[in-house]
């Protein structure tokens, strides 16, 4: 049909491939059955299996959260004992962080869309991808048993010497978290390789969707930070079984050293949780404003900047711990530096809206909620980074509110945006838009009602991890608890209409939002091999000023049936992109 200048070295013959609106076969209709799913190497099925597991754990963590909030309705005992409460908040925190947020966006949604956005058939190492999933499942079950069996009540931070005083379960839990982490290392490696090697002809680094940049930065953090967990584990084991004093003061060790190790992993882990969310926001906001992203490179590179500086700020969790004055000063300073690239992103997104053609569909509604809540999380982070203020606020409910605004208001809301955005692509079905908007409103109201009062009671002095509290805080706690019930109803509603859409939802077209993203040029749901041609890219992913036809090109002369990797297409891709 036409020829396109893809690079200055080679001219490819391309033609237009319009995605079918009525696909005969999709990844859901092929390789059916439980066994086929459990042994699949298809990135889409693996992504959906992750999504299922993450949802399951979110339900578990959410029920625990509601139990915690219910206990806090009154000071002293409401319905559970102090020890039970302490175990519940440990479980809740550990599940939400390690089982839900860390794998949620990269492993669930990332797995589904990353190869599609690159125009690839799959990730670079499909079998490794399946292995990552099973390692995640094993790690999650292992950690869960270790946590529940030993009644671990240390909080998800496992601080020594409390955590090592009376039992060795912290070793098992660390081992479990490390197994989970290993799964992230493998996923990270897989993604990095895929992004370097499997881009369709024409996708240069400057034409990568920002979602890919975000996943790229996340993968780097995953690969570099997780090994520190293994070191911590080794040290704990040495202390326990060889009696070498490392963290335990009774043996001449230093308990604060544990905090350094813990946060050296866990602070970057915070960015493992949030950076992928940034990717989703960039995709959704451009689609629903039909407009080029504002400041592509500023957004892409700030993800990388956050990834790198994020390694150097762990000490901001330890301002009151008695670490040295120099360390405290430097950590405070670097913390502010991470704040800047994050702030830049927010402003770039808002600027993208300027003169757009804005359609307030549910995913876009979540983006707006994200921008508002995440900004509050960010500003309160600046508050906590500034030394004198942090001394007062550390380990109070102000911190609890801050990290819920970041992790839930940020990552989880971004996940919901992504889920509602890609749901038609993943399932081929549309959910009920009206119910979805009600759901988003419930989440927004419930969330703020739950966590806003916590800022106030925190700065009034209410410490965190408190089963009992003094009367003056009752009104804040009760408001918060009622808010959490509204939040719970919101999530139930979402579960309801999403599940219902699977059975009676309207059929979704291949590109219901009119996006220019490559994943939308496949059928909904996609073919087992994503595309039955090799896509060729001539425009950037946000070039809304170019006609849709230019985004539907593929190699014209390479014939393949879609069932085995086409070597010719791959070779061509490599020549172009390298």
């Amino acid at each position: 049909m036409a020829t396109a200048e893809v690079s200055n070295t080679k001219t490819l013959k391309v033609k237009r491939f319009k995605p079918s609106e009525d696909p005969k076969s999709t990844f859901l209709t092929e390789e059916k059955g439980l066994w086929a799913w459990l042994t699949t190497v298809d990135h889409k099925k693996i992504g959906l299996m992750y999504l299922g597991s993450v949802t399951f754990f979110f339900l578990l963590g959410g029920i625990l959260a509601l139990l915690l909030r219910t206990e806090l309705l009154t000071p002293a005992k409401t319905f559970i004992e102090a020890d039970t409460y302490n175990q519940f908040f440990t479980l809740h925190g550990a599940i939400m962080v390690f089982f839900v947020l860390v794998p949620s966006i990269p492993a669930a949604l990332g797995n589904f869309v990353l190869p599609m956005q690159l125009g690839a058939k799959d990730v670079a190492f499909p079998r490794l991808n399946l292995a990552s999933f099973y390692i995640y499942v094993i790690g999650a079950i292992f950690t869960f048993i270790a946590l529940a069996n030993n009644g671990l009540d240390t909080g998800w931070t496992f601080y020594t010497p409390y955590s090592t005083d009376s039992s060795s379960s912290v070793i098992w839990v660390t081992l479990g978290v490390f197994i989970l982490g290993f799964s992230s290392i493998l996923t990270g490696t897989n993604f990095i390789t895929t992004i370097h090697k499997m881009r369709a002809p024409g996708i240069t680094w400057g034409k990568l969707p920002l979602n890919i940049w975000a996943l790229y930065a996340t993968s780097i953090i995953q690969v570099l930070a997780t090994p520190v967990l293994a070191i911590t584990l080794l040290l704990l084991t040495m202390e326990r079984f060889l009696g070498i004093g490392i963290f335990d003061p009774a043996m001449g060790g230093d308990p604060v050293l544990f905090q350094h190790f813990f946060w050296f992993y866990s602070h970057p882990a915070v960015y493992i949780m949030i950076v992928p969310g940034f990717g989703i926001i960039s995709e959704v906001i451009t689609t629903f404003s039909k407009k080029h992203i504002f400041g592509y490179w500023a957004i892409a590179l700030s993800s990388l900047a956050i990834a790198f500086i994020g390694f150097l700020v762990w000490g901001h969790h330890m301002f009151t711990s008695g670490q040295s004055a120099v360390a405290t000063t430097v950590f405070s300073f670097l913390t502010f530096l991470v704040g800047i690239p994050t702030g830049i992103k927010i402003l770039n997104w808002v600027a993208t809206l300027y003169k757009g053609s804005i359609e307030m569909k549910t995913p876009m509604l979540y983006v707006f909620i994200f921008l508002f809540l995440f900004s509050i999380g960010g500003f309160t982070g600046i508050m906590l980074g500034s030394l004198a203020a942090d001394i007062h606020l550390h380990d109070t409910y102000y911190v609890v509110a801050h990290f819920h605004y970041v992790m839930m208001g940020g990552t989880l809301i971004a996940l919901l945006a992504g889920l509602h955005y890609w749901w038609p692509k993943m399932t081929g079905k549309m959910y009920n838009e009206f119910q979805a908007k009600i759901g988003a409103a419930l989440i927004f109201i419930g969330f703020n009602m739950t966590f806003l009062p916590q800022f106030i009671m925190g700065s009034q002095g209410m410490p965190r991890r408190y089963y009992n509290y003094i009367d003056q805080f009752t009104i804040f706690h009760q408001t918060s608890t009622i808010g959490s019930y509204i939040l719970g109803v919101g999530f139930l509603l979402i579960a309801f209409y999403l599940l219902r859409s699977l059975f009676s939802g309207e059929k979704a077209g291949s590109n219901p939002w009119g996006s220019r993203g490559l994943e939308w040029q496949a059928t909904s749901p996609p073919d087992l091999h994503n595309f039955d041609h090799t896509p060729v890219i001539i425009n950037g992913p946000y070039d809304y000023h170019k006609p849709m036809e230019e985004f539907q090109l593929g190699l014209a002369d390479v014939h393949h049936n879609g069932h085995e990797p086409s070597h010719a297409a791959k070779a061509a891709a490599e020549e172009v992109t390298n």
Binding site: K291, F294, W297, G322, L371, F372, A388, Q460
Partner: protein, 314 residues
């Protein structure tokens, strides 16, 4: 303007340590509020003004704007420099104890606080201080990490088992302030509370005098005092009610059954062993929750406690 957010903070009772914190928090809150309001209004305004009118809306190609990018990187950068410097200054002040500070030693344990004065007086869960004078607390933990937090003074410091940490404040008015433990330390973490009680200089001297050296009295009285100061009472009741540990009422001479050892009757040696090596015999129905008091209680102290336990008949 910063005072808009004053409702968030409790009344400041130690301006020398808290004034900077309050001013800084007010500043950050107000600046954040303005920027947040700006961003939110812009978002909503754009969403309405540029709402989609038809499916074939065309949008202009605006890819970036270096001047704008630089402006909104540099202004926040300057702002955070201010916040950093300000916070640093306040923190330095919190770390610099005035020379004339009055020193009190603090010992934290699961789950309580003991305050020791220079004349030997000891009090549990109440620290009495003179008004108008800087007070320095030198703190150490007997077991796990704890943290000493007084919201009214805007001070907080972790208390560690292996080294001393310190914190200071100066309360200008007489009155009371709440102390919380803010480093999670187990079952009764949320009950690990104490009070700061501020007296006038004269009242304080009189109070201190009255406390004496804490060493007088009969062995039973000394024993009773130790039990309060060492925090035994946070796990053991004297009146038969159940707690984290068994009650002491009627303990003396009673037959004890264990999780994994032959039963013995509670005599001097058994109680002594229970205090110095609690994990040797775990009382049936209880967890291994008690830490050893080896090195923290002298032989005389233990004898006094035993004398006291003997008095607790059913």
């Amino acid at each position: 303007m910063g005072s808009l957010f004053d409702f968030m903070l409790p009344e400041l009772k130690s301006p020398m340590t808290g004034a900077t914190t309050d001013a800084l928090m007010g500043f950050i809150h107000i600046v954040s509020f303005i920027i947040l309001a700006g961003v939110t209004i812009a978002m909503i305004y754009f969403a309405i003004k540029y709402r989609r009118r038809s499916e074939d809306d065309e949008t202009p190609l605006i890819t970036h704007n270096n001047k704008l990018e630089i402006t909104w990187s540099v202004i926040p950068l300057l702002l955070v420099f201010v916040v950093f410097g300000w916070g640093y200054k306040g923190w330095l002040n919190l770390k610099t104890v005035p020379d004339n500070a009055y020193e009190i030693h603090v010992s934290a344990y699961k789950w309580g606080w003991t305050f020791k004065y220079e004349n030997g007086a000891q009090v549990g869960n109440e620290v009495h201080v003179p008004a108008g004078r800087p007070i320095k607390l030198v703190m150490q933990s007997q077991d796990v990490l704890h943290s000493f937090f007084v919201p009214d003074y805007r001070i907080k410091q972790d208390v560690l088992p292996n080294r001393y940490t310190y914190v200071w404040f100066q309360a200008d008015e007489t009155g009371e302030s709440q102390v919380f433990c803010t480093e999670y330390c187990g079952t009764s973490h949320s009950n690990m509370l104490a009070k700061v009680i501020v007296h006038t200089e004269n009242d304080f001297e009189a109070w201190l005098e009255e406390q004496g050296t804490g060493g007088g009295g009969t062995p039973e009285e000394r024993g009773e005092q130790l039990v309060g100061l060492q925090g035994c009472a946070s796990c053991h009741s004297m009146d038969g009610s159940d707690g984290i540990g068994p009650t002491w009422q009627g303990l003396w001479g009673k037959e004890r059954n264990f999780e994994s050892a032959a039963s013995v009757s509670a005599d001097e040696n058994y109680i002594r062993e229970s205090i110095l090596n609690p994990s040797a015999k775990i009382v049936e129905g209880y967890q291994n929750q008690m830490v050893s008091y080896e090195g923290r209680l002298s032989d005389d102290d233990i004898s006094d406690i035993i004398a006291y336990i003997k008095t607790l008949e059913e």
